[in-house]
């Protein structure tokens, strides 16, 4: 979490080839709130999960310390104008430029 927020506070947009779990998302929001200041107003974040992460295969992968795929986009809210989330796609509008 610290690494993610440090990079975002440097005005960087992170694209990670893994999805955050719901618990990790909540933790990220919590840590973001602790980091908010006059200069940093928070983040825009969106996660795509590949499929349900409750299957046996996925549980074994996680038990062995692995990740089950997916995508997460996180950036400073002042840089990212909008993240539009759909079940299988994330669209990011950043500072006047758009990307899918």
């Amino acid at each position: 979490m610290k690494y993610i927020l440090d990079k975002v506070r440097e005005n960087k947009i992170l694209v990670m080839e893994e999805s955050l779990s719901s618990t990790e998302e909540a933790k990220l929001i919590e840590e973001t709130m602790r980091s908010i200041s006059e200069k940093f107003s928070g983040i825009e974040v969106s996660t795509l999960r590949e499929k349900s992460d409750s299957g046996i295969r996925e549980k074994i992968i996680k038990l062995l310390g692995g990740r089950t795929g997916g995508l997460t986009v996180i950036g400073p809210s002042k840089l990212i104008k909008q993240i539009k989330k759909e079940p299988k796609r994330i669209s990011v509008l950043a500072d006047g430029n758009s990307m899918d």
Binding site: S21, E25, A26, I29, E30, M33, E38, I43, S77, K85
Partner: protein, 207 residues
Amino acid sequence: MPFRKLLGWFKGFFGKKKVIRLGLYGPPNAGKTTLANKISMDWTGEPVGKVSEVPHETREVQKKEKVIVKVGGRTIVMNLLDMPGISTKIDFEEFMQYGFSAEDAKQRAKEATKGVIEAIKWLENVDTALVIMDSTKDPYTQVNITIIGNLEARDIPVIIVANKIDLPGSNAKWIEEAFPQHPVVHVSGLTGSNVNDLYNAIAKHAK
């Protein structure tokens, strides 16, 4: 967790009525406090908290204890917990657009961040949750997904409330399609429209 379930069963078996901690979750301005006030006024005659157009009006968990709801032949005793809206960003400059001074806006922002943290921590301590969404807005947002995901991970019953059905542009079907795994009740917390459906849903799903 298994011990809590066993204790709950034990209390139920011996007839002690359990007080259900009902958490009202959602993004800012979804109408949580308006709905909480409606429920509280209906059953206690008193409101829960203050409402305004300015986001993050609720910055601490507002509680109304021992709200007794009688519906469908069932009596439910609940502690109503109106949560601060959950957001991934809080910009004090936004509050200044509503007429706050810079100093007051910064103070409000500071309180709002603490409120979000408190609402997240309360996810561990609610028995049933209403996740309130503005039916005039796209429901498929990361905040809504995160809230629901965390409640599901804790096996907490979720009732989704498609609120503001009194407004033009309301599209509650949007919400049903986004979250088909949970019951969705269409209401207006402001006018009280269909709120009886919500009470029936609470009676059916709360634990």
